[in-house]
Amino acid sequence: MKIAISSTGDEIESLADQRFGRAKGFIIYDLETGDYKYNDNLQNLESSQGAGIQAAQNVVNENVEAVITGHCGPKAFKVLSAAGVKIYTGAEGTINELIEKFKNNELRQAENADVEGHWV
């Protein structure tokens, strides 16, 4: 099972990014093997609109089953939910801390978007 965590950097010790659509990047972590990679999110940082949708599309394309992030808006939430990806908001701390919390079931799964969209 793979998970995606919005990240401010490309290291496993990097801090989680509070933003989803306009996160600096994503750490894609494989829970079985412990392997991870970093995908930068530059394209969406610079896009004028729909960053959440596109970021969601990108993590869905990575076949992750869960996303851990600070906040998630309604459009990203819609895409992730349609793909059956579980969303955990309120992420604080480093990526490896969050992975541990996830493994120990200490993260709260979001049932709704927790912030407003930025467009309409």
């Binding site: 729909g50 949708i53 969601a56 599309q57 895409v79 349609a82 309409v120």
Partner: protein, 280 residues
């Protein structure tokens, strides 16, 4: 001739200048004059002109409608969409219509012809007559983020008039550019304040980059005019006119009346403004 009235900053007096310039020109009986209020999120010209409404038309934007029977989930439409209004999830396309700019890319690239055009209402076009001029304006649907299609519809409505005065939305982004596009001259209305100057500079950057002829009008002209004058001089930009910040104008304005109708002594100013533009 198409004359756009624009500004960087809001509230500088675009509509005041647009309404009175159109009113002044309407006294030339041999020309058909149309004022096109393209500030479609907050149109105001009709408040001054109180037109008799002749036409109302809903304006729509084409958005993609996916036929799930034909769609194979190839994702080509998602790939071409620069506005992130499509996503491909579990082999199905999700559409976020409020983000669609109706560029048409998706229905062109779809190899299965699975995308047809659905319509989304963006607002209403309202057209009427006032004095001896025509006024057309747009009103966006509440919460509508996409104003350029409505702006374009308003401009198209005025295309057969000899002189078209286009009152543009403030700012320097898509709606403003949709307003000035295709015009022969852009009047940038500013006020002599640091805010007016700052936003004027942004607007000048836009019109220069796009290659428009343009000049500046100072509204609410005061002892601070040097702020704008020095800038115009250093950049070699025409200063077309100055409309004073005085109580008699403010009174007429605050009653929603046309300045030139109540204070005809200002006709000379609009005459000079128009001549300054048409000699360009």
């Amino acid at each position: 001739m198409k004359i756009a009235i624009a500004s960087g900053k809001g509230g500088t007096g675009k509509s005041t200048i647009a309404v009175n310039l159109a009113y002044y020109l309407s006294e030339y009986k041999d020309k058909k004059i149309s004022l096109l209020d393209c500030d479609v999120e907050e149109p105001n010209c009709h408040i001054f002109l109180k037109p008799e409404i002749i036409n109302r038309e809903k304006i729509f934007l084409s958005i993609p409608d996916i036929d799930n029977e034909k769609c194979t989930g190839c994702g080509k439409c998602v790939e071409i969409c620069r506005f992130n209004s499509l996503a491909l999830v579990k082999n199905k396309i999700m559409v976020f219509p409020e983000l669609c700019h109706s560029c048409g890319g998706c229905w062109l690239v779809c190899p299965e012809k699975a995308i047809s055009k659905a319509q989304r209402e963006v607002g209403e076009l309202i057209d009427g007559k006032s004095y001896s001029l025509n006024l057309t304006y747009g009103k966006t649907r509440i919460a509508e983020p996409m104003s350029p299609p409505l702006i374009n519809a308003v401009k198209k409505w005025g295309k057969d008039f000899d002189i078209q005065i286009i009152d543009c939305p403030p700012g320097t982004s898509c709606p403003m550019i949709a307003g000035i596009e295709g015009t022969d001259y852009v009047i940038l209305v500013t006020e002599p304040t640091p805010f007016g100057l700052y936003d004027l500079k942004l607007a000048v950057e836009v019109v220069r980059k796009l290659g428009f002829k343009f000049g500046i009008v100072i509204n609410k002209s005061s002892h601070n005019d040097h702020l704008i004058e020095n800038y115009a001089k250093s950049e070699d930009i025409d200063l077309l006119a100055k409309l004073q910040d005085n109580r008699s104008i403010a009174k007429v304005y605050s009653k929603g009346e046309v300045i030139l109708e109540k204070l005809p002594e200002y006709k000379e100013l609009f005459k000079n403004l128009y001549e300054g533009i048409s000699s360009n």
